[in-house]
Point group: C2
Chain length 235, copies 2
DNA sequence: ACAGGTTGGTGGTCAGACCACTGACCAATA
DNA sequence: TATTGGTCAGTGGTCTGACCACCAACCTGT
């Protein structure tokens, strides 16, 4: 008979407005938001309310706050999920191996899509990184290159959702196991094997063979699985 | 020589405290937080600051705020990612097919892990849902059962990270395409095919065959892929 | 031309106030 | 007695106005 009257919290309304403005193109990465005082006046709300909205937006990585300078739309949304994912990890008392399984799922799908959409330019870029890994001797640089290898594949997947979730989970793992890449790359048993696996993945890319790329990446992930389960035995 | 002095924003310090308290077991799902006034006094900060922290926590689904009642730790963290994922989707102007690809990656891995860890009790539960789907005629109930089918598999995967990301992306898709399940299930061509696919998945579970489960689920996802790409043609 | 301080604007925090809402208690009523 | 409706204390939601720390840009005297 009577409709329920529902008053959305103001900060959610502000979020809506920002979303709409971004979709319409009025607001884009790096843009500066109105100053809090000015904005509050425009919207007819108090500064405290604006600040609550800004705080919520900052939490999910959409807004970057710089004291004395202003509030800005984030330059990229890659880290939008890192914070929430980290929280979720702690709260649900998950184990590192579970994130690794998550990463495996995304990494293989990412490789699959990358093989599907691979372009000569991107292939060359990734292959160059691969070659650099083989010749580099400094372990921390090798680790950095390995990171870029996966990063470029994620880009080449042309799926921004997978890319972002993948990067977030990867950085969560790295935050939990400091220098995990170095530890894995540096093992003399694994080193050559990794280079070989990289080559198989590359080859799958070159042949636009999604299935083979996925399988190769999955085997590549096995290495990391082993490493993780080794330092985090099953209960 | 000298370390940079960094004054973390207060709301981040509060987040840290909550995290620690949860990890130590002092704070658990559904628990009530101190009232804002009381809490502010305890921590020696103003209520506005407390509120900014609460707002940030609410945004990522960790805290539920009920006017006149109090602030509570969320009963589950399943929705921790839904909001950020939704924002990310809008901001990066992603396409629905990209979320679907994300979901595919997680759904197949979820099935794989579920087959690995399947117990008789869980199998029975899932099989029961499957049978109910076949006999049910009301399409909206069928859709609800289908949702539970996937939900139980996610639970059976025993990977809470994958489960939560999966559920978030699934609910994002459903938010974007209202009644997508009904639309897919209701197609007379697809109906029997779906039941058949469910059976294959079940069988893989029964045989503890991760690979087969993953493949079956992947084929199951093909159906949804088709549906999505049909109403969202490539650019 | 330049090193110095000044100044206006920004976000960060605070204190105190009022409103809307909830739940529990209690009195009046049928 | 059982139900209704009011009261009240406590909660989150919002507002106001103030002060601080910080930054960038503009002076200003050398």
């Amino acid at each position: 008979m009577f409709k329920e009257i529902e008053q959305k919290k103001i900060y959610l309304q502000i979020l809506e407005q920002i979303k709409d403005n971004i979709i319409e193109g009025n607001l884009k990465s790096g843009d500066r938001l109105p100053s809090e005082r000015q904005w509050a006046e425009q919207l007819g709300v108090s500064r405290a309310t604006i600040r609550e909205a800004v705080r919520a937006l900052e939490m999910i990585g959409l807004v970057r706050c710089q004291q004395g300078e202003g509030n800005f739309i984030a330059v990229d949304y890659e880290d939008t999920l890192t914070q929430p994912l980290t929280i979720m990890f702690w709260l649900s008392k998950a184990k590192i191996s579970q994130i690794q399984e998550l990463r495996r799922a995304l990494e293989t799908e990412s490789a699959k899509l990358a093989a599907k959409h691979m372009t000569p330019e991107r292939y060359e870029k990734i292959e160059k990184i691969c070659r650099a890994i083989e010749t580099e001797t400094d372990e921390s640089i090798r680790a950095e290159l390995d990171k870029r290898f996966h990063y470029e594949i994620a880009i080449a997947s042309e799926n921004i959702m997978i890319k972002n979730v993948l990067l977030s989970s990867a950085s969560l793992i790295e935050a939990l196991i400091k220098d995990i890449r170095i530890a894995i790359l540096d093992d003399p048993h694994r080193g050559p094997l990794i280079d070989q696996q990289h080559h198989i993945i590359l080859q799958a890319f070159q042949n636009h063979d999604p299935l083979k790329a996925a399988m190769a990446m999955s085997q590549h992930m096995d290495l990391i699985d082993d490493f993780v389960s080794q330092l985090e035995p099953d209960d």
